[in-house]
């Protein structure tokens, strides 16, 4: 099947704009759900240094993120504070051209206080923590000549809206990228002579983070068996700024009318579209943990993270213009911008971890089961029920359950109070059919130093890498075959540094 047949009358189909990094879709999709559904790297420097393999250890402020039962091991009043630095680099290949783009952020990673109650026997600890659980920092840049007969303009022309007088309109029509003739068959769209062969370029910058106010309690329910609970109140924000260009770099349309007989559409040069997505996030959830210490040798932990319910207040702003040899046309932003509200409910997460103490060397491992098909949109205000149901079906059809693995080690030099750490973890891609290289892999290291017997300073570094791809529009399904028409192939490097100080007395 040739791509040149895409827009012939015999052609079928469109869309399935699901697997996009910065999709052109004007509404929500599985990418949005996954953005909140995938857990972040947490905030604890000691844990990150050990590859976040901490469910079976958790004897510090990291319990607020990994295993609340770990609070029960605390015997001192503890204050913790920390800072997080994140650097994100994306190397993109787009129609044979390579581009690199970076973004970074520095923010407070956590503040917490824990108070163990004096006990005659056993343990009871309460704690309050404010921490950053996820960083949305991201970047993408692409620039390449798309020699197919597709374009974003043509894709947008397939979405038609109607005003109060039942007159059809869409972005290409408003920017004189089409004629005024409306075609009803085979799909509703305006007539245009545009037929791809444009240079496509753009950038996407992502920022924002999720924060938790966590209230924790833990007790020793029987000898060496600890139970704990984290009650999380979540807040956060997310911003996605997507700038996209299509340019007639080959001069194909310099002497043409895009709309038959419409002089305003003569000499097309550039199409620009800017979409800004802003989320104001709030939510809550519970995490239950169990931890059992096997004499002085090992600890085993289990966690159940109940579904997180995020309420998303979304602001979506669209701007754009078209440049012709005869002039420039700007988009009326209010016609395509909107505000909606909906919930995203994440799946249960079941975790199990083990740590073993080998004469000063702690070895730790854990696994976490997450069934991403249980992600869902809910309680939509401003979105149609059919649309929400359709997106939830996409999630069921295209996502999968995964098992995250973490391993880590820590060695303590007792005479100098120094600790060295190393770790590795992998979070497989939640998309069905993705290869292992699409999973997020991290190698980590860290150092801890105890001074004065009360204050510990920790620093952790994590380097992550994975592959992914995104579609500016499409892909299209033709005769049951999915064809990518404007796809960016991305190799991502993510670097994190967490500094923290813990004071116990």
């Amino acid at each position: 099947m040739k791509i040149s047949n895409f827009f012939s009358p015999r052609i079928i189909i469109f869309l399935a704009v699901i697997f996009c990094f910065g999709t052109v879709s004007f509404a929500q999709n599985a990418v949005d759900a996954l953005r909140l559904g995938e857990s972040g790297l947490g905030f604890d420097a000691r844990a990150l240094g050990m590859g976040n393999s901490y469910i079976g250890l958790s004897d510090g402020s990291g319990a607020a993120f990994f295993n609340p039962a770990g609070w029960g091991l605390l015997k001192s009043i503890e204050f913790t504070g920390g800072l997080n630095y994140n650097s994100f680099n994306n190397n993109t290949t787009f129609f044979g051209n390579n581009s690199s783009y970076s973004n970074s952020a520095t923010r407070l990673s956590n503040l917490s206080i824990a108070l163990p109650f004096p006990t005659v026997r056993g343990s009871m600890v309460f704690a309050v923590s404010y921490h950053t659980t996820k960083d949305f920092t991201g970047a993408l840049k692409f620039d390449g000549y798309n020699g197919t007969n597709t374009s974003m303009i043509q894709d947008l022309n397939s979405s038609v809206y109607y005003d109060n007088n039942n007159n059809p309109y869409n972005i290409p029509f408003d920017l004189y990228l089409t004629g005024a003739t409306f075609l009803n068959l085979p799909n509703e769209q305006f007539q245009t002579n545009l037929n791809g062969h444009l240079n496509q370029s753009g950038t996407i910058l992502e920022s924002g983070s999720l924060h938790n106010w966590t209230f924790s309690g833990a007790i020793e329910a029987s000898k060496n068996l600890f139970l704990g609970l984290n009650l999380n109140f979540i807040s956060g924000s997310y911003n996605n700024n997507n700038s996209y260009y299509e340019d007639d770099t080959h001069g194909i349309y310099s002497n043409q009318y895009l709309g038959n007989g419409d002089s305003s559409t003569y000499g097309f040069q550039t199409f620009y579209l800017n979409r800004v997505l802003n989320w104001d996030l709030s939510g809550w959830n519970l995490k239950f943990g169990l931890l059992y210490q096997i004499q002085n040798k090992a600890r085993i932990g289990f966690t159940i993270q109940f579904p997180k319910t995020y309420t998303v207040k979304e602001s979506y702003t669209v701007n754009g213009y078209s440049q012709f040899s005869v002039g420039r046309y700007d988009l009326n932003s209010s016609d395509y911008s909107d505000n909606v509200k909906y919930d995203i409910v994440t799946p249960y997460e079941l975790g199990a971890g083990l740590s073993y103490n080998l004469e000063g060397l702690i070895l730790s491992g854990q696994a976490t089961l997450i069934d991403y098909t249980q992600l869902k949109f809910d309680n939509a205000d401003g979105l149609g029920t059919d649309y929400v149901n359709k997106q939830n079906k996409y999630i069921k059809d295209y996502l999968r359950s995964v098992l995250n693995f973490n391993i880590g080690a820590e060695y303590t030099f007792p005479l100098v109070g120094l600790r060295l750490r190393a770790g590795y973890f992998v979070k497989p891609s939640p998309y069905q059919g993705d290869p292992f290289s699409f999973g997020k892999q991290y190698i980590t290291g860290g150092v801890g130093f105890l001074t004065g017997g009360n204050a510990e300073f920790d620093v952790a570094y994590a380097h992550g890498w994975w592959d992914t791809y995104g579609d500016n529009y499409g892909p299209y399904t033709i005769n049951n075959t999915v064809v990518a028409v404007s796809r960016t192939y991305q190799t991502i490097k993510d670097n994190r540094i967490i500094l923290s100080m813990t004071y116990r007395f």
């Binding site: 004897d59 091991l73 015997k75 001192s76 009043i77 163990p116 109650f117 004096p118 006990t119 005659v120 026997r121 056993g122 343990s123 009871m124 309690g217 007790i219 020793e220 329910a221 029987s222 000898k223 060496n224 068996l225 139970l227 704990g228 609970l229 009650l231 519970l286 239950f288 210490q293 004499q295 002085n296 600890r299 109940f306 319910t309 103490n357 004469e359 000063g360 303590t412 030099f413 007792p414 005479l415 100098v416 109070g417 105890l450 017997g453 009360n454 510990e456 116990r504 007395f505």
Partner: protein, 166 residues
């Protein structure tokens, strides 16, 4: 929403209902409790492998305070734990002896000749101490200091004695 509230309530009920199973909170009308979990067989961070991290993880904060009128009792270390630390820590394999001696006081009658002049000058002002008979000889001055429990916690080089651990 309701079902989540029920989950929260249920979980908290389970958690704190279980406190009666094992955990016993301190009664503020009584003495502060002793550390009941620093048995070597239960400590995840033993001193021999973790040094100062032992206290960092294992010493309850209430053992560092002593409200007036209260006495904090320390749990004795097990002999097995002592041997483990000695064998690996290079601090000697024999248990140290703590001498229970009276507080040191100068005996003006038993000073050596080199100190005669000094003692004679101070004797008049120390008449009230003349009845406190010193029973140790001058060679045991250092061991008499070991009667002070605070000083027995650390050796001169800062490392811990076997009997001094809290």
């Amino acid at each position: 929403m309701k079902k989540y509230i029920y989950k929260i309530l249920f979980t908290f009920l389970i958690m704190f209902g279980l406190t009666g199973c094992y955990t016993v909170l301190w009664n503020p009308n009584g003495n502060l409790p002793v550390n009941n979990t620093n048995n070597e067989d239960e400590v995840f961070y033993p001193v021999v492998y973790y040094g100062d991290y032992y206290d960092y993880y294992n010493t309850p904060w209430w053992e560092n305070i002593t409200p007036s009128g209260q006495t904090v009792y320390k749990k004795e270390r097990s002999s097995a734990g002592t041997l483990i630390r000695n064998n690996n820590g290079g601090r000697g394999s024999t248990p140290r002896t703590v001498l229970n001696t009276p507080p040191p006081a100068r005996d003006i009658n038993n000073t050596n000749t080199s100190n005669t002049n000094t003692n004679s000058r101070t004797s008049s002002s120390n008449q009230s101490n003349g009845n406190r008979v010193e029973t140790t000889n001058s060679g045991n001055n250092s061991s008499s200091r070991s009667g002070n429990s605070n000083n027995s916690l650390r050796n001169n080089n800062g490392s811990r004695n076997t009997n001094g651990r809290r």
